[in-house]
């Protein structure tokens, strides 16, 4: 990236002997929405807190707009932040909460009131100014928290799992709202989540974090379809892993349970006799032979789950069990457990995990 707005360079963070962030590097462009995605304890929140200034990195630096802010306190960084626990001030009304940052900055009263009204309009709660936080639902509180974070016009917006405490329906509507507000204001945003669906649906780019490192950084499409590590492949989306042995490295032939499939051009650096893990997304596998699929394996139906519009089928292929989804068709009955079947897929969809 030629001129990144936010640049995180070689950041490390340890608590005692425990290294929580290990050599983290990231450049974020102006107006970009980047998600830190990973399981609990992967260091994503610590990294966000380092950007906010709540934690001091053990090494490395953070630059915002080309300026090194590593040594600056949180109140000197001009950053907005939304917390998982909302963190609205219980003693202040909604309007006072939104106006808190403006008052601290010494903005004239009339100007601040206009900005508060504008923010209440943006989050579509124009008549809520006089209410107290305890009079609001979780979703409303989080929208107020977003308005409060955005009111002082920060250079950077940090979202620390803002949807985690909300119920499923509110989460979906609020994530769409957050994204649309972010796009409208064009503010550079870092979003921390452990929910892959949130990250995939909201982000321009995703940083998948594992044990304090960025395992892979890419667009949602790249992360989902071309995971570069076994961890990313497993963590993002559902994945079927097939264990196989390379029968002929030169021709790219891999043996799975006495059947062979061709993976030409995907076995770079491997040699015949090596074992390897192959991954396939459920949606890449069809039950039975299908035109366009060049690879087939034989198996037995192990389990069938009727989920309404979709039927999830688990097929035993030797020692491996493969999950795949088929659409429900009222005219054809679902597969029967124990039935012999074939599964097919395109070798182009097979991921070789390292």
């Amino acid at each position: 990236m030629a001129d990144p707005f936010l640049s995180i360079q070689n950041v490390k963070k340890s608590f005692g002997n425990v290294a929580v962030v290990k050599d983290f590097n990231l450049d974020v462009g102006a107006g970009e929405f980047v998600s830190f995605l990973g399981p609990s304890g992967c260091g994503k929140t610590t990294m966000l807190r380092i950007v906010a200034g709540f934690e001091e990195p053990s090494a490395g630096k953070v630059l915002i707009g080309g300026k090194d802010v590593t040594g600056l306190k949180p109140n000197q960084r001009n950053i907005g932040m939304v917390f998982q626990a909302y963190a609205l001030f219980p003693n202040l009304t909604v309007a006072q909460n939104i106006g808190f940052g403006l008052k601290v900055a010494g903005m004239p009263k009339a100007e601040a009131q206009a900005r508060i009204d504008e923010m209440l309009g943006i989050i579509k709660l124009p008549d809520f100014g006089d209410r107290y936080p305890y009079q609001l639902s979780g979703g409303q509180q989080q929208r107020i928290a977003l308005a409060r974070a955005l009111a002082p016009k920060p250079k950077l917006l940090l979202l620390d799992e803002p949807l985690s405490a909300l119920d499923a329906k509110v989460r979906i509507s609020l994530r769409e709202e957050i994204r649309s507000i972010q796009k409208k204001l064009g503010i550079t945003t870092i979003f921390v989540t452990h929910d892959q669906e949130e990250a995939l649906s909201m982000s321009d780019r995703i940083v998948v974090m594992n044990e304090g490192r960025a395992d892979q950084t890419g667009t949602p499409f790249e992360i989902y379809n071309r995971p570069s590590t076994k961890f990313v492949a497993n963590f993002v989306g559902t994945l079927n892993v097939l264990e196989g042995t390379i029968s002929d490295a030169a021709s790219g032939t891999v043996k799975i349970n006495a059947e062979e499939i061709g993976l030409k051009g995907k076995l770079n650096g491997s040699k015949s006799g090596d074992t390897l893990s192959l991954a396939l997304r459920p949606e890449a596998i069809s039950l039975g032979r299908k035109a366009g699929n060049d690879s087939n394996l034989t198996g037995q139906i192990a389990d069938v789950h009727f989920l309404g519009s979709v039927i999830r089928v688990r097929v035993g292929v030797g020692q491996n069990v493969v999950s795949l989804d088929t659409f429900n068709s009222p005219s054809s009955p679902p597969p029967v457990v124990g039935q012999k079947t074939e599964i097919s897929f395109s070798s182009g969809d097979v991921l070789v995990l390292h």
């Binding site: 906010a52 200034g53 709540f54 306190k73 949180p74 109140n75 960084r77 001009n78 950053i79 907005g80 932040m81 917390f83 998982q84 626990a85 909302y86 963190a87 609205l88 001030f89 219980p90 003693n91 808190f100 940052g101 601290v104 900055a105 107290y132 936080p133 305890y134 609001l136 979780g138 509180q141 928290a145 409060r148 974070a149 002082p152 405490a165 909300l166």
Partner: protein
């Protein structure tokens, strides 16, 4: 079920009787100043006594300064311990409990030795200095109550997240404590303040040995020399304490509702 309720009521009645009978007896005795009839003569004498007014006003003033000192000392300390140094909490709690096990007379003799007119810090060299020392002494005596009240208040709010939310919005420490933390623990602070007030109003040892014209020594003096007035004073002092407790209860209804924790 019925048996357990009977015992519960019995314990309650015995406890209430143990508490109320001496109080009622004192009140009844305070009304007997005029021979043969009940009257409020004892109260009239006490309330009309110039020394009562002077000592009460003095103690109220000292109580206000003690509360201010306690708030300035305890709120930032309890806040900082909870936010940044939770590992020090047991030590600080132990220190704040010391006034309960060290008698006031020990503290005051320590003060007299340490802050006499020939010492480097001659608090006792002037009346104002002695007043200041009395306020400091009372703040120490009230520390167990004030610290616990404030710490309990801080426990009901998410101190760390609220602090960080205020910090990221540009607030400095003074703004955070004054506009975010203090208003949210105000009821707890007021509870501590009224307990402090109750302690200061009736305290005898420090005021007497430092020779200050406080309400406690006045109570003792009247008690030693009069018959009905001490009973009236005891009832008045009790009413003041109960008044303070009632104010705490009333104020608790106006506590800000905690909304900083997701359901």
């Amino acid at each position: 079920m019925k048996t357990s309720r009977f015992w519960a009521w019995l314990v309650f009645v015995v406890g209430a009787a143990y508490f109320f009978i001496p109080l009622i007896a004192t009140f009844e005795f305070s009304l007997r100043m005029r021979r043969g009839v009940y009257s409020f003569d004892a109260y009239r004498v006490v309330l009309g006594d110039a020394r009562f007014q002077e000592t009460f006003a003095y103690s109220v003033t000292v109580a206000v300064f003690t509360i201010l000192l306690g708030v300035f000392l305890v709120v930032p300390t309890a806040y900082w311990i909870r936010l940044r140094m939770p590992q020090l909490r047991p030590i600080v709690e132990f220190i704040t409990l010391l006034p309960l096990v060290i008698p006031a007379i020990v503290i005051v003799f320590g003060y007299i030795r340490m802050y006499g007119s020939n010492s480097p810090l001659p608090f006792l060299g002037s009346a104002r200095g002695t007043d200041a020392l009395l306020v400091i002494g009372y703040a120490t005596l009230a520390l167990p109550y004030m610290y616990r009240a404030v710490d309990t208040g801080l426990r009901t709010i998410d101190v760390r997240t609220l602090t960080e939310a205020a910090q990221i919005l540009g607030a400095g420490w003074t703004t955070i404590i004054a506009r975010v933390i203090l208003p949210n623990v105000l009821i707890a602070v007021l509870s501590g303040a009224f307990l402090t007030f109750a302690i200061v109003i009736g305290e005898f040892t420090l005021a007497s040995l430092l020779n200050r014209p406080a309400f406690g020594p006045y109570l003792q003096n009247i008690g030693a020399n009069r018959a009905y007035e001490p009973a009236a004073l005891a009832v008045i002092a009790f009413a003041i304490t109960w008044g303070c407790m009632s104010v705490i209860q009333i104020l608790a209804r106006f506590a800000p509702k905690s909304a900083n924790r997701p359901n």
